[in-house]
């Protein structure tokens, strides 16, 4: 069995999972209008981190500040919190780092186009080495679905038996490169986004880092604080349709949901946490996929109205927030949603709802025709007096 044993989220809404979940519960958002940021001719609405705050926090933790970029600092700070909360010995041989990012340090291209830091895996090595881990870290770079792909890659490596723990980090930071690209695609909403809504005008980008620590806890000796998060199912399918436009039949997302529904009990599902970018095409595609899967009536929600689209971090932070929601017995409201705006129904709500179910599905779709999904189940286990630490035999 694979379990998620610790987590962290850093975003403009908080520096821990608890702070972020509390901000969501209060209906907060840090989506703001940014003019002249990155010297861009056009303003944009995004959720951006305070760079000085992050650098200050990092200086408190690290030996040397100058060696690390903003992106790397965020990854390290997020992983540090998750690693320390489960007392994992991250330097051990049975620990592997898996990092989800679409563009890493791409902002360095502006000033140092030939520097090694522009390579995602160079950056990933620095992050793993910071924690003393010498295994080759794996970067999953699958556009917007990277965060779920990283979890799937980690889970498979753990099931393969060579590693016992995976530190799965998802992070992207905004830059002139990324914002201008989404602007050229006419994909950005000038105001806070409205997932699934009739008036939706596009997406907002956001900055965040998230970390999940996954462990292969074997078959029987289950321990925990009374309950734990167990991996239940995963799937990945391509639309085979277009490199930037979502499939009009929702083919890939439909196949993902179909695979997952074969492995979990429908009556256990609290909600489906959708991608919900608030672009006209994405949300419409998701409604078609839900309809084809017979899931129209199941509660659904989206987090982009709080955080924006955090790219490589999205799959990680939205999975963690879904875990917190199920633990708390709630289906978080979809901020920005008001009136149905898709052909088929999406059972989203602008209000928080209650749930007593123990499983959720998280799905994502992205450029390259990729679609991925994962499901986790909350499982009750007898408490253990002395939790084991990472690296012990």
């Amino acid at each position: 069995m694979i379990a998620c044993i610790a987590d962290n989220i850093i975003s403009p809404m908080g520096l821990t999972t608890e702070e972020n979940f509390s901000s969501v519960s209060k209906g907060m958002s840090m989506l703001r209008n940014h003019e002249d940021t990155f010297g861009l001719p056009e303003a944009f609405c995004a959720s951006m981190l305070d760079r000085e705050l992050i650098s200050g926090l990092f200086a408190d933790h690290a030996l040397s500040d100058n060696e690390y970029t903003f992106f790397e600092k965020l990854c390290i700070l997020s992983a540090t919190d998750a690693i320390s909360s489960c007392a994992l010995q991250a330097e051990c041989e049975d620990v592997i780092f898996v990092i989800s990012t679409t563009k890493g340090n791409v902002d360095m291209l502006e000033t140092e186009p030939d520097c090694p830091g522009c390579r995602l895996a160079f950056s990933a090595e620095k992050i793993a080495r910071y924690f003393g881990n010498t295994n080759t870290p794996v970067v999953t770079s699958n556009a917007c679905v990277s965060g779920v792909c990283a979890q799937i890659a980690a889970i498979r490596l753990l099931l393969g038996g060579k590693y016992r723990y995976a530190v799965v980090i998802g992070c992207d930071v905004l830059s002139r490169f990324i914002i201008s690209g989404f602007q050229s695609f006419k994909a950005l909403s000038p105001e806070p986004c409205r997932p699934f809504d009739k008036e939706r005008k596009g997406l907002n980008l956001g900055e965040a880092a998230g970390t999940m620590i996954l462990e292969n806890i074997g078959g029987t000796n289950v321990y925990g604080n009374g309950s734990l998060w167990e991996f239940a199912a995963c799937s990945n399918h391509n639309d085979a349709n277009h490199i930037s436009g979502p499939s009009r039949t929702g083919e890939g997302a439909f196949r993902v949901l179909k695979d997952i529904l074969e492995k979990i009990d429908r009556d256990d599902i609290a909600f489906v946490n959708l991608h919900g970018t608030a672009t006209p095409y994405n949300d419409e595609m998701e409604s078609i996929a839900l309809h084809r899967s017979g899931l129209e009536d199941l509660p659904a929600n989206g987090f982009k109205g709080y955080f924006g689209h955090t790219l490589g971090a999205a799959g990680i932070i939205e999975t963690i927030l879904s875990m917190k929601a199920v633990e708390t017995g709630v289906i978080p409201a979809t901020k920005g949603y008001g009136t149905k705006g898709t052909t088929y129904g999406i059972s989203a709500s602008s209000a928080t709802r209650e749930t007593d179910r123990n499983t959720f599905i998280k799905i994502l779709s992205g450029f390259g025709g990729s679609n991925a999904g994962i499901a986790y189940r909350r499982r009750n286990v007898p408490p253990c007096a002395t939790p084991r630490k990472g690296g012990e035999a």
């Binding site: 050229s184 006419k186 277009h242 490199i243 436009g245």
Partner: protein, 85 residues
Amino acid sequence: MNELIDKLKTQIIEALNLEDMTISDIDTEAPLFGSGLGLDSIDALELIVLLEREYGIKLTNPAEGKEIFRSVATIADYVSKNRTK
């Protein structure tokens, strides 16, 4: 007008990487999207960039493009009326 049409065809071939095509292969009146040249949504966005870069025309709403980008003839007509450079 014919000069502008040929210039536009050359620019479209280059901007959209229509390798192996020459300006005589593009029918001025034929649809660019769907059946005709078979251009797609990314091509449409790239045509918006072309109009801005070469002719100083800013299209903010991609929906506007649908009519303008119907054929090379409709683009030439729009450019001749709206160009700022």
